[in-house]
């Protein structure tokens, strides 16, 4: 074997060797250590009363304290700030505060993403059944709510990513509609 070819092969295979056995715990660790805390997003929301999917774009940012902010740029500008148990909506009509404790279904979706970004596996596993699969550095995590009331509204949350990056989150509702959020740098 040509030494150069062997060296090249080693370079290619090395990351695969490193992450070929990537466990779910590693995924959570990698996500939480990801230094990039601001992402662009494109969201496609479907609902039974719409003829087509509604597309929203903007940026989302989060910090280690669990604060998550979503700045919607299109179709209509608005802001969402989530701290602890409160969701604050800012739009043309002013300010609206929603207690997540009073809206378990909304809380379920928001918390799943928030806990994932914080790498809090314990919280996730106490609220969801986790199905995990991976292929090389790509991974898929499927969350199914443990709470029957939430399960009757949200059938699953599918998160796909690579190493420490989240690429897509798909929240599937029991009525067949979904919210698909695609993140990019």
């Amino acid at each position: 074997m040509n030494w150069f070819k062997f060296f090249l092969l080693l370079l290619i295979v090395n990351p695969i060797v490193t992450y070929s056995e990537i466990e779910i715990a590693n995924v959570f660790g990698l996500i939480s250590k990801n230094p990039n805390k601001t992402l662009k997003f494109v969201e496609l929301r479907s609902a039974t009363f719409f003829t087509e999917e509604i597309k929203t774009t903007g940026t989302v940012s989060f910090n280690d304290d669990g604060l998550m902010s979503k700045y919607i740029a299109t179709p209509i500008k608005s802001e969402i700030h989530i701290t602890d148990n409160t969701l604050l909506l800012l739009d043309d009509d002013g300010k609206r505060e929603i207690s997540l404790a009073n809206h378990p279904v909304l809380a379920s979706g928001v918390n799943a993403i928030r806990w994932l970004l914080l790498g809090n596996k314990e919280k996730i596993s106490s609220n969801y059944f986790i199905e995990y699969s991976n292929k090389l550095t790509d991974w898929k995590i499927k969350l199914i709510p443990r709470n029957s009331e939430i399960l009757s509204r949200v059938s699953s949350i599918l998160i796909t990513g690579q190493l420490g990056n989240i690429n897509v989150i798909k929240l599937s509702k029991s009525d067949g509609t979904s919210v698909i959020t695609t993140f990019s740098q």
């Binding site: 969201e43 929301r45 609902a47 039974t48 009363f49 719409f50 003829t51 087509e52 509604i54 929203t56 979503k70 919607i72 179709p75 209509i76 608005s78 969402i80 701290t83 602890d84 148990n85 409160t86 969701l87 909506l89 739009d91 043309d92 009509d93 505060e97 929603i98 207690s99 997540l100 404790a101 009073n102 809206h103 279904v105 909304l106 928001v110 509204r153």
Partner: protein
Amino acid sequence: MTTISRNFLFFIIVAASAWYLNNNLLVVSNIEQFMPADIRDKNAQVLIEKSQKGLSANLILAQISGSNDKELSRLSRALKLNLEKKKSFSSVINSQNFNDLKHEKLLKYRYLLHSNNTFDIDSLRHNFEKLLTAFTADTPSEFIDYLLIDPQSVFLDYLSLNQIKTTAKQKNGVWFVGNKALLMIQIQKNSTIEQQDLAIKTIKNTFEANKPSGAKLLLSGASIVAVEMRKNILNTIQYASFALIIIMFFVFVFIYRSIYLLILAIITLASSILIAMSVTQMIFSQIHGIVLAFGITALGVCLDYPLHVFSNTCTKVSARNAIKKILKPLKIGVLTSIFAYMALIGTGFDGLTQLAIFASIGLLSTLLISVYFLPLWMQNTKINKRKIPIGKCLSLKSKIFISLLVVLLPAIFLSQQAGLFNTDISQLNPASIASKKVDADLRQVLGSEEVNHVFLTSDKNLTKILTETQEIQQQLKKLVAQDIIGGTISADTLLPDKKTQKYRQEQLPNKEKLKNNVSLAMSKMPFKQDAFDNFINDISSSKTMPLLNYQDFEESLMASKIQSLLFIQDGVWYSLIRVIDIKNINKFKQQVNNSYLLKNTYYSISAMAGNIMNDYLKKTWTRLFAMLLLLFAITLWFAYKDKNRIWIVLPVFSGVLISLSFQALLGNSINIFHLLSLLLVIGLGFDYSLFFNYENNKMIQLSNSTHAITISAITTIMTFSVLAFSDVNVLSSIGQIVVIGVFACFIIAKFISTPTNKYE
């Protein structure tokens, strides 16, 4: 009747009373029983009833402090969540939050409940755009579902109009004022004091179960005060009973040198209390805590009778003979005391009538036990009591001088006092000043209605009073605009009259026209054609639906609200218009006086209750004077045969005057409870005076009377001193007046009623 059969009869009566009480005793502590019962003004009666039993009487305001906002909001939410699961509470509110509006009973009536004329294409399009924004901005799906049915938020506007107008800020989804989290907890209506007590304990335990670490829970409200008052009364009863037992033990061991006599006295006293409680419970089906506290202490007077028997019995005189000698003054003493208490019956206060029955039965029982049973139990008892010095008798001149001094001095002092009598019922409120302030502050922040200042209109015709309510509201809006009051709450915005509903119905567009407008408004929007079908159908059915009635509110979100503002009693409808946050009371009263409508419908609960109280205070005074005159007449009748008897009445008059003067000196004004306590002072004073005076020239009798009365005065004064230091205003008023009055009566009777020294 043989000794055995008498003892058996006594045992049966006591055992039956104990058994009956064990199964039926109900102690209550609501102050309303000491409020006038037969109020002539029906509206006033309704308002007083509402203030005592309405929603606000069962509302608890809770404040959590002492930690960071995150922890406080967690505790607030946990408390709400846990309490809502319990049956004792009808609602727990800690934020402005409308959930699941889609399933609310009143939703289908929204177009009759609230005005809405915006069915043109542009308005509808604007509403649909707002729905789209809400959808993309992560608004909870429950709210989106609601907006599809009611895109104009008509129902939400209706609810907002009638919701709590709080100035509290919402942090982490719960109400906050400063660094304190707030909650409003409504105990189930018509809860008894026991249920309220249990509910309060549940709140405290639930809070503790949520591991509050350093955070503290502070509760306020009428039910908190009532429960606290009950606890204080029970404590006072325990202290008073304990004090009485200690004093009695000391007296009997030190003075009578006999434990057996102590046992006899306890049996007499305990049996009398037991019988009095049983009869009161049988007649009224309950006993008020104040009656029990005051009554038991007042029955300490009953100790006088066995004491007289013991003091007049000696190695040479048997108990049976002692009774024969003192029976006449004993009977007079008991009868006058019973008369004094009977004066309370028919004053219009249920609590006082109860007290009269309790005290009278107790006194009568003691007399019967002392006369018929004590001699039986003392057949072979030799009493070797410790002598008490008689003291020197005064000359006629000295007596006249002292009499003038003890009557004129307090009389002149009292005549100089302005505003001596207090008819302000707030003085009877047992809540401390600090807790009243906390309650007032919380009420203001949470936008709770003013309890004291209300407008009330009544009529047999519901439509008529709803119209009148609207008219009053129109007038009050001017006061809101002038920033004299913060706002108002009334039934007209909750339940519009039929005319208004009919008008709103007529204004609704027909189905075809609306369908067309909705279709045009949705053009170039991603909504499906049938997205707003429920909205269209609701409007269509609203056009023909039967108009909304009062009964339709049952089990709705606004049921308790409307029942507290609009209610029917004896076929008459009453509509309450409540005021929120009076910012300038003088301007408010001035504006009310300037308007004919407002003036005629305005009620100040405290002023109204004060007037009623004033009326009854006058009546009770009249009875008290009648009582004193009766005593005077009895004395005159005695004096007809023996001029020396004329001195009997003077210590009583003087004792009353000195006791009242002492209250004035303390800066206290005289209320109904002071007056009531004076009856006890009169009864005791007359008793002391009578015994000091009776058998005036026989020194052995005098010695025995002094002996018995001194012991009686000591025990009474010491027992009532416990009441004088009670936390409950009412009990401390009673304690102070009795201690001073009895002390004065004793000292004055000792010098004035005793035989005159004719040799000086």
